[in-house]
């Protein structure tokens, strides 16, 4: 007797409309995300035209870029429960690869960017296979070590990466043509829309993934690896899958960064940035696509805001970080939704 003898219970009945709509809220399943993302996109679409100062547009572009990385990292850390203290490396790899391909090899961006994402994903795969066998502390350490090694390579491998000076004259993002990329104000605007369009699309895609068989497999791996494997989940396969996926998100963010700022150097990709990325995910709220936006926004705005305080910014950042981790380890989004839920419950009781 073999598995083929099992009755074919896999194929869903190809019947017509299923009986009635599913009561998703009653079953505890999440509501579709895309309407909310659409609402956010609508608000974002108007914002830059309300700003008198292009500085705010620039900040929002960076928030958007960080959101992309954060959404991917959230899949890894929040849903699948794996720690990465080296994700800056993947952002950097995306940025550098795309910069090198477009400057040295003169490849057009619509080739260079996907190629950069592919290369970074491949590196993530190769690196992920031995690394993801490790647990907890050890995984964090391995990713930390990897991140630092990549940074050192960026800094020292002069012939390829340009060393500490980096790569200059990186071609700008110009899907709408040179007219938009030559004019600084128009370039900012155009990049703003490209970045946030990508971020919104990725948020919806990620939310879809989370609420699917694959997403449940990620979360099952986080919940209990042993139990997940006894239900047929290939635990190591899925860990690697989510790791590579999060690296691909980071690589895209890196590419967008490189072709917005138009030059690449090692400094933005140090260990500090990896820490900031983790902070974005954790502070925003793990296991929540919105957490990534909130976290990216919070950290970016906080850094900008604290810069006003001159040298106090670093101290303040450290203090705020410790406070949030101690008192709100679930992150801001969860804290907000918990207090909202508590308030609603209290209202209902009256």
């Amino acid at each position: 007797m073999s598995v083929n003898d099992l009755p074919a219970v896999n194929a869903p009945e190809p019947a017509g409309k299923a009986e009635g709509r599913l009561d998703r809220r009653g079953l505890g399943l999440s509501l579709p995300t895309w309407p909310f993302v659409l609402a956010m996109a609508a608000v974002l679409a108007i914002l830059p035209f309300r700003f008198s100062n292009t500085y705010y547009t620039t900040v929002l572009v960076f928030i958007g870029i960080n959101t992309i990385t954060a959404v991917g990292l959230n899949l890894l850390m929040g849903y699948a429960g794996q720690v990465s203290l080296g994700h800056a490396a993947f952002v950097g790899l995306g940025a550098y690869t795309s910069a090198i391909l477009s400057t040295r090899l003169g490849l057009p961006l619509w080739v260079a960017i996907p190629a950069a994402i592919a290369v970074t994903s491949l590196i993530a795969y190769v690196v992920g296979v031995p690394t993801l066998r490790l647990q907890g502390h050890y995984l964090a350490m391995a990713t930390l070590g990897l991140g630092i090694i990549v940074y050192i390579v960026f800094k020292q491998w002069d012939p390829v990466t340009g060393g500490t000076s980096g790569i200059v004259n990186v071609p700008p993002l110009s899907p709408l043509g040179a007219k938009y990329s030559d004019n600084p104000r128009l370039f900012d605007l155009q990049t703003y829309f490209v970045v946030w369009a990508a971020a919104c699309v990725l948020m919806v895609l990620s939310a879809n993934i989370v609420d699917s068989r694959i997403g449940r497999a990620f979360r099952a791996v986080h919940g209990s690896e042993v139990a997940a494997s006894t239900l047929g989940v290939n635990v190591s396969g899925f860990k690697i899958q989510v790791f590579v996926l999060s690296a691909a998100y980071a690589a895209l963010a890196g590419c967008l960064y490189a072709h917005y700022v138009k030059f690449v150097n090692p400094e933005p990709f140090r260990f500090t940035f990896s820490v900031e990325l983790v902070v974005m995910v954790v502070v925003g709220g793990m296991a929540s696509v919105w957490g990534a936006v909130v976290g990216a926004g919070t950290v970016t705005i906080l850094s900008e805001f604290l810069r006003e305080f001159g040298d106090y910014d670093v101290v303040a950042f450290g203090v705020i970080l410790m406070l949030i981790m101690t008192f709100l380890p679930q992150g801001l989004t969860r804290a907000a939704s918990d207090s909202l839920r508590a308030a609603l419950r209290a209202r209902r009781r009256e």
Binding site: M77, V83, L85, P130, T131, L134, G136, H137, Y138, A140, M141, A142, L144, G145, L146, I148, I149, I152, V153, Q156, F271, V275, V278, V279, V282, D311, Y312, D313, V314, V315, A316, F317, G318, V319, L321, M322, M325, T326, P329
Partner: protein, 291 residues
């Protein structure tokens, strides 16, 4: 002869750096043994020790021994403070949360140091002048000081753990928490003491390395990370392993920089870290955990 003297030069440089890594690794191990927390702020204790000593000597014109004691006391107190802060989240927090808390602390300390002492590097004078020649290799007396102090640290730590009440209590805590509590050991107090001890160790490393590397607000990061690599290499929680690993790391770095390439010198520690994690996560030098 030329080759030999160069070899010896690298060797001594390596042992010097390695001793520093070893002391830092000890600091990690002390905290880990008691709390299972990886203290990413360990490097900042080194920096605090160096900065306070530098300020005491250069600014307050205090003699070296006083400056040393001051540095160690300040770092120990601040470390104890960090220990107090980590106690509440310790019980229920996940690995990630604890890691981030100590990272947050390290950011805080670095920022505070930058505020207090500015961004310039402070030149701390060597403990004694002159230089020593061994087979045509020049050794700075500071290197010998580092070795001597390092050795003293190891010996004192051994005495602490074996002979003092507090030390034995810490060993009990490290091995079996519930058992320790039933005999009346105050776990929270042990946590704070272990942090203070790590602070003292880190500051010691900072004071003795400052004359060589200059004291600056950002010297802690790399030193801490490399000491951390040594601690893993030697087996987290394994004192002897951490010391040996630190020395080996220092020597490997020195030879690597001298004979292969000085560009990627910093990467050596992390490549070693990865090799250990991938091949033998419990540490190459780890002995089997004895009850």
């Amino acid at each position: 002869m030329e080759f030999l003297s160069q070899l010896l030069q690298y060797l001594f440089a390596g042992i010097t750096a390695g001793s520093i890594y070893a002391i830092i690794a000890l600091g990690f191990t002390v905290i880990y043994n008691c709390t299972e927390v990886i203290n990413f702020a360990q490097g900042e204790f080194v920096m605090l020790g160096a900065m306070v000593a530098a300020w005491a000597i250069l600014g307050l014109h205090l003699p070296l021994p006083i400056a040393f004691l001051l540095a160690v006391a300040v770092a120990g107190l601040i470390a104890a403070g960090l220990g107090c802060v980590t106690i509440p989240p310790l019980k229920r927090a996940s690995v990630v949360t604890l890691i981030i808390i100590t990272i947050g602390a390290s950011i805080l300390f670095r920022g505070a140091a930058m505020l207090v002492w500015g961004q310039d590097a402070l030149p701390v004078p060597q403990f004694s002048e002159g230089s020593i020649l061994v087979a045509n290799a020049v050794i700075m007396p500071q290197s010998l000081w580092i070795l001597v102090v390092g050795l003293a640290c190891v010996v004192l730590l051994r005495i602490f753990y074996d002979k003092t009440m507090v030390g034995r209590a810490m060993r009990a805590t490290a091995c079996c928490k519930e058992g320790a509590q039933t005999v009346g050991i105050n776990i929270n107090r042990m946590v704070v003491i272990s942090f203070a001890l790590a602070g003292v160790l880190g500051a010691t490393a900072g004071v003795i390395v400052a004359p060589i590397s200059l004291a600056s607000f950002d010297m802690g990061t790399m030193l801490g990370l490399k000491g951390f690599c040594a601690a893993i290499f030697g087996g987290l929680g394994n004192f002897g392993g951490g010391i040996l690993a630190g020395l080996i790391l220092g020597i490997l770095e020195s030879f690597g920089a001298g004979y292969i390439s000085s560009q990627y010198k910093d990467a050596i520690a992390f490549v070693l870290l990865l090799a250990v994690l991938f091949l033998r996560p419990q540490g190459v030098l780890a002995r089997r955990k004895s009850g």
